[in-house]
């Protein structure tokens, strides 16, 4: 499969990105390109302009200070994130999530900014142009009147399956977005997502992600991301769960839990967090939190995996990620 025709543009600095995006309608940013290029080959996106942002060295930095916390330029590769010393030590869930994306080749190219910005996916949509073209009916995502996954649904319910967002949510990350006027705004990563499959994030056509910041976790904090996929590499999660727990004197001071690959965005599970916070960590307590997660999630089925299984799986992944986070918290 070949790429469709497009005009190639290059941004030399952050300002360039904004002006290029503003000047050229129907432009896309290509960071690692591991997500957007296959989609272009499949003609899922056929942009007129492609903006290469990878020449901007400023956005490839990992900075860490105890006080300032962690700052990741949006172009830092997933491989670099997963191997960075401060990330491995203090933001373990993020290192684990970055290290489990796709395969080493894709992690060498793929960026953290690209990872949080990917769209939802579906077996009835993420196929070649030839495949989609021949279908007798169109689904919502293609402007049609139905959903093949959830018969009877009134909207698209495609799955958001990125690995790092639940880890970033659990770690309380913030995202710096530069808008079309060049203004920067910093928002909670949770607010970055719409929970709508049709368009999973709030980015406007002229916005781009500059940086991701995470505050240094307080002492006694541990975090963990666990993923189950149908194979060890080159596979999106069937489900993924991240937990970040702060423990003091055996008691849970704070907890944040989030899951991915259940719907139109990464989902924070406050009801499970509440069960932990303020209580002494025991196996029974963790089981209860996992039960709460099980009750809360109403996952979309995968093509070949049932809702029944996914809920069970989320329960196990939440339980195990809390346990491992607690183990690291001491």
């Amino acid at each position: 499969m070949r790429l469709p025709k497009f005009e190639y543009l290059e941004a030399k600095n952050v300002k360039d990105i904004t002006s290029l995006l503003k000047k050229n309608k129907e432009a896309v940013i290509v960071a690692g390109g591991t997500d957007i290029l296959p989609k272009m080959k499949q003609r899922i996106v056929t942009p007129k302009f492609v903006i290469n942002v990878t020449k901007i060295e400023d956005l490839k930095k990992i900075e860490f200070g105890e006080k300032k916390g962690l700052a990741l330029g949006s172009l830092v590769t997933l491989d670099a994130v997963s191997k960075s010393k401060p990330v491995v030590e203090k933001f373990t869930a993020l290192a684990q999530a970055s290290g489990r994306v796709a395969s080493s080749q894709i992690r060498n190219m793929g960026t953290i900014g690209g990872n949080i910005s990917i769209e939802s996916m579906c077996m009835y949509y993420n196929q070649s142009h030839e495949w989609r073209k021949g279908r007798p009916h169109l689904c919502f995502k293609l402007g049609g009147d139905r959903c093949f996954v959830a018969k009877g649904s009134k909207e698209c319910l495609a799955l958001f399956q990125a690995d790092t967002p639940p880890a970033l949510i659990a770690l309380g990350a913030k995202v710096t977005i530069v808008d079309g006027t060049g203004k920067e705004k910093v928002i909670d990563i949770e607010k970055f997502y719409t929970q709508k499959s049709k368009k999973v994030n709030i980015l406007k056509a002229t916005d781009f992600v500059k940086q991701i910041q995470i505050p240094t976790p307080p002492k006694g904090t541990g975090s963990c991301y666990l993923k189950m996929a149908q194979r060890e590499a080159i596979d999106y999660p069937v489900a993924g769960a991240a937990a970040c727990v702060t423990v003091s004197g055996g008691k849970c001071k704070n907890a944040r839990i989030a899951v991915t690959a259940i719907g139109g965005g990464p989902l924070r599970l406050k009801n499970a967090e509440e069960i932990l916070i303020g209580n002494t960590i025991t196996d029974e307590l963790i089981e209860k939190a996992a039960d709460a997660a099980y009750e809360k999630v109403r996952p979309m089925p995968h093509f070949n995996i049932s809702v029944w299984y996914k809920r069970k799986l989320i329960r196990v992944l939440v339980k195990r990620s809390i346990k491992q986070a607690c183990n690291k918290a001491v």
Binding site: Q127, E232, A233, K312
Partner: protein
């Protein structure tokens, strides 16, 4: 010094340098002056009549040089089931649809254009009018009495049927102490070779056409291409360049071959066609999915009394080689265990889906999963050890099965012993902590089919010519197709050993070019090592004899007293007295002044080609038979159902390992292929739409999933194979799946009877067992 100086030693393959440096050329790598790109328009409907095809708009597009439809080909369908007395209707597919399309992806028209993008655009400009017909998406719909016929000539939509009854199963079951009836299901799997189908064709003003094609069977392709485009067979030349795997899928004459030749003739330019991975997965062949009901009767001590086997297979839209697929699903049940009574009833149905054909371990994988699972259930219920029950029933060398298979060598017992030892059976079986388990299973496979499904009277099954140069180096011409398995290296080793050369660098293999190499039936049925190997050995022997004759004159010795080894010809027992082979060649040329080329050939033993008992399932079928045993260790996460295969100890009886690392590589490749088919691979369609069209969605395992493989070579020294060799590329594909299924059972107490063994199935079974 051992008995041999070349074979049995670890030899670097002749294609290694080309492959590791990236210089190896595959069918899609040829760039010829003025070459066009071909693309195929495919049916978007699962079942429809073609009313009209309007190609006028496409032809007007700048850059389009030819548009072909079913009207541009002859009325001879292609297909490899061609031998007399098979009925002509078994060839049921046209390269380009003539009246009907039968699955989504069926070939309707083809375009050649100066550029891929233009060709794609042109496809969209071809207007096809269809009359949609009811479509049948599963065998239950297909077998309904009022179902539409997908092919007019096949009532009930039964594309293939095999039934036979040997012995007396009613009596045998009556005499059995224990009877087990069980039901299993297997899924569709794709071969997932690295190189999708590809071809480059060049038609010449002389009316000849040459094709570089990714194929296992150039000599079959040649005939089908000639028939489809209506030219004499001798005008078609098929050259097989390097091929990136085939595993049975490329033993079929696929549409792109005749189409590329046709487009080249229509445009007057060379044409190249490479399938996308999506096209490849969704429109070529796949393994047959089956539903198998099996009844096995045994005596108290585990001795098998009878099998009663019923198989339903979903064949998809066309025949492919299903005559063989379905037949061998039955007859392959005659080993590795003695089977005194056997009833077999198998039906394959047409459905409006991508069609199924041969895949590595052809026809053996499905029933073997069933039998080896049931052997363990029976053993447990009779309180027997799984190894003992497999030994007490074992065939042995010298046996002839009740349907006439001649067992010339048999490494079954040794395979069982070495594989089980490799997995630590004694200390691990039923002794590992809950969630962990080991299990094993055996295999049995043909090595060298006795007859061709294609040629009624092939000159021989494999021909090899050897000739020599003035400098004392040799050329070996073989029609056989190395598609990545390393057979060219093995043939070079066999010939070099037989001639008495000091290394394979003194012998060059020229292979698989229908214009210059002698006919070979192709790469399928695990035939190359036995068939082409024997032919190479014979040609080598003959040329050695010629040279020894010359040497005898030079040395003034008796021919009988001379031997050739390590590049020289010596008087036996007197290494001082001898000449080099190079000298012998030179002198031979000087004295005789006639070309020195010898012809070797191989035909399987006459009884193996006797198909008179076909209807009763009594056919000797193969030159010889391979055996083996795999033992697997698994780790099951009982909360998620995830099965991790930790290790497979894989013993394979290849008769004699000509090139041991190649045999080990085949064993590892087999495990990697079938542990994926055991645990995650599942080709899916929905209402005829191919869903799993990429390697993201069709889950072949990655290197990170791969278990440790202990390759164990068992050598039974076969009397028919060259230097005792038998096949090593398919048999080892067969026992991994049941070995894993058995291991999962010992780890968890649950037995999954439909493939693949997914986490969800395991978890459901565990919950059911736990009473949840």
């Amino acid at each position: 010094m051992g008995k041999y100086s070349i074979i049995g030693k670890r030899q670097v393959r002749t294609d290694s340098a080309a492959k590791v440096t990236g210089s190896a050329k595959f069918a899609g790598d040829f760039i010829l002056p003025g070459m066009l790109v071909g693309k195929i328009l495919r049916s978007p409907l699962p079942h429809a009549r073609i009313l009209n095809i309007d190609k006028s708009k496409a032809l007007k597009l700048k850059g389009v040089r030819a548009v072909a439809t079913g009207k541009d080909i002859t009325d001879i369908p292609h297909g490899t089931m061609r031998v007399d007395p098979l009925p002509a209707i078994l060839r049921d597919k046209y390269s380009l649809a003539k009246e009907k399309v039968r699955f989504i992806g069926d070939e309707v028209a083809a375009v050649a254009a100066t550029d891929e993008d233009i060709a794609m655009e042109a496809l969209e400009l071809i207007k096809v009018e269809y009359e949609e017909l009811p479509a049948l998406f599963d065998i239950w719909e297909a077998m309904k009495p009022d179902a539409i016929r997908i092919h007019e000539n096949f009532p009930g939509n039964i594309s293939t049927m095999t039934t036979f009854h040997l012995g007396d199963i009613e009596k045998a079951f009556a005499e059995s102490d224990y009877i087990l009836e069980d039901k299993y299901e297997t899924q569709r799997t794709h071969h997932s070779y690295l190189e999708p189908h590809a071809v480059t064709a060049e038609y010449y003003p002389s009316g000849d056409v040459a094709l570089w094609s990714s194929t296992q069977t150039p000599f079959y392709d040649k005939v089908c291409i000639a028939e489809t485009i209506g030219i004499p067979v001798n005008k078609v030349r098929v050259i097989k360049p390097h091929v990136g795997g085939g595993f049975g899928a490329k033993g079929e004459v696929h549409t792109l071959f005749p189409i590329s030749a046709l487009l080249s003739r229509m445009s007057g330019k060379p044409v190249t066609i490479s399938y996308t991975r999506e096209e490849d997965i969704s429109t070529t062949t796949r393994r047959h999915p089956t539903i198998i009901e099996q009844k096995i009767g045994v005596k108290k001590d585990g001795r098998i009394m009878a099998f009663d086997s019923k198989i339903l297979a979903d064949g998809g839209a066309y025949q492919s080689v299903s005559m063989i697929s379905i037949f061998v699903m039955g007859v392959f049940q005659h080993g590795p265990y003695k089977l005194p009574n056997f009833r077999f009833d198998a039906r394959r149905f047409y459905t409006n889906k991508p069609y199924c054909g041969a895949q590595r371990g052809h026809g053996a994988i499905q029933p073997r999963f069933v039998i080896e699972s049931m052997m363990d259930i029976i053993a447990e219920n009779l309180n027997l050890d799984p190894i003992e029950i497999r030994k007490i029933n074992a065939l042995k060398a010298g046996d002839t099965t009740m349907n006439n298979f001649k067992i010339r060598s048999c490494g079954h017992i040794e395979s069982l012993d070495t594989a089980s030892e490799g997995i630590g059976w004694k200390k691990n079986w039923k002794k590992l902590p809950h969630g962990k388990g080991v299990g094993l299973a055996c295999n049995f496979f043909a090595s060298g089919p006795g007859f061709s499904q294609f040629y009624t009277n092939p000159p021989s099954h494999s021909g090899v010519n050897i000739t020599t140069e003035e400098d004392g180096t040799f050329l070996l011409y073989t029609g056989s197709s190395d598609i990545g398995q390393g057979s060219e290296t093995a043939l070079a080793m066999i010939a070099a050993e037989e001639i008495g050369l000091s290394g394979i660098d003194q012998l060059k293999v020229i292979a698989a070019d229908t214009a210059t190499t002698p006919l070979d039936l192709g790469t399928y049925g695990s035939r190359l090592i036995v068939c082409a190997g024997n032919a190479a050995k014979m040609a080598a022997f003959k040329i050695k004899e010629e040279l020894i004759e010359t040497a005898a004159e030079m040395l003034e010795a008796n021919k009988e007293d001379l031997e050739a080894r390590e590049g020289g010809i010596y008087v036996k027992g007197n290494p001082e007295k001898g000449i080099t082979i190079k000298q012998a060649v030179k002198t031979r040329f000087q004295i005789k002044r006639i070309p020195l080329t010898t012809v070797g050939y191989y035909n399987p033993p006459v009884d193996t080609g006797d198909v008179s008992g076909f209807a009763e399932g009594k056919v000797s079928l193969a030159a010889t038979w391979s055996f083996g045993c795999h033992a697997a260790e698994v780790d099951v996460d009982e909360e998620t159902g995830v099965v991790k295969v930790k290790k497979v100890a894989a013993a394979h009886d290849c008769g004699f390992a000509i090139n041991p690392p190649a045999v080990e590589g085949q064993i590892e490749g087999c495990v990697s292929m079938t542990f994926g088919q055991a645990t995650c691979e599942d080709y899916r369609t929905e209402k005829g739409w191919s869903m799993t069209n990429s390697f993201l969605d069709y889950k072949i395992p990655t290197s990170e999933d791969m278990p440790e493989v202990q390759s164990i070579i068992v050598e039974s020294i076969d009397s028919e194979g060259p230097f005792g060799a038998k096949e090593a590329s398919e048999g080892a594909n067969i026992p991994t799946i049941p070995a894993i299924a058995n291991a999962v059972y010992y780890a968890t107490g649950v037995r999954i009877k439909d493939l693949p063994i997914t986490p969800e199935k395991v978890l459901r079974a565990l919950e059911k067992k736990g009473g949840k």
